[in-house]
Assembly symmetry: C2
Homo-oligomer: 205 residues x 2
Amino acid sequence: MPKGQDLATRDRLIRAASKLFLQRSYTAVGVNEICAAADAAKGSFYHFFPTKSDLAIAVIDWHADAMWVLHDKHEAAARGAAGRLRAVTEVVAEVQGKLHRSFGRMVGCPLGNLGVELATTDDPAGAHVAGVLAQWEQRIARHCHDLAEAGLLRRGVDPDELATQILATMQGMILLAKVGAGRPEPVAEAMRRVIDGAVATRRAA
Amino acid sequence: MPKGQDLATRDRLIRAASKLFLQRSYTAVGVNEICAAADAAKGSFYHFFPTKSDLAIAVIDWHADAMWVLHDKHEAAARGAAGRLRAVTEVVAEVQGKLHRSFGRMVGCPLGNLGVELATTDDPAGAHVAGVLAQWEQRIARHCHDLAEAGLLRRGVDPDELATQILATMQGMILLAKVGAGRPEPVAEAMRRVIDGAVATRRAA
């Protein structure tokens, strides 16, 4: 594990890259530019990240770690399985709200952006971001299954399909808001409508 | 308007670029590579497209034109406002099925991909693809408004929000299927579930 000054440099490189990737794209940003933005020497970059893909993987993990922390926080504050499922809408509202304030516009989902850009390439960061998105879907699906077991999903609602639909609504709404220069609020609202349409208002008989 | 051999060269450049953008990304593909794939001289490229953005705009229009033709076809074959709304699911099933067969994998929505990649940049193709996606949303919204006027939407369903939700579900499902190496069928299925959840099964009183 890197320590002290090393940790600070590695962290600066990750934060600078994350910002530049969100402002443009992974492919559009070069190592020189990342080093300049992070105030780091190029030798230092390659010390931490043998390839640009390694940096992308670190950026993905950095976003994912922050997201799991937010999930833990909002799930811990939630009541019942429905509340824990709805926590995902609060995570997204918090992340997208913060990004919108920070960049002054919608810049997309850090994970979704990299997924779209890299999924068809042989860059190992593509498989890595796919793994994190699959983990996210599984985390949502666990709550959907809890609801199904408690008889709290409407008749005909499949818990795995519901989890996919929640994640797809999130990614699609973020994409449209990014492309259409929209706002973060409708993203969580649309996700809440999907959840409201699937969760029974009272315990099914 | 270009004619004869000129038209053939321009068309080859657009088709080659469209394929390369879907295989990797707009930024990752250079003009030289597009010319080689289209068997066109570089001078010829710049004759038709003064900048790479101009080519991207032509690629966007080429995809959009094909999509409007499919919409016309499926809407003409549909019965009633609900059928015309559901036509969008058939358009997406046809386009994504064709792309999946052609590339042997999910490559994303040609418009959504470019939107995600270019929305935060100052490339004019970003604003162009945003305009086409907005047109698409308006086309879907027209059918939602027809349903609302006929009393065929469930209570509380807003026609504009429904249109956004249908387009977001499409884009999000395509994104997840691309990233997760999935299949095209679940995309239209998820869109149908959104529509089924919003359209009243019989005329509301």
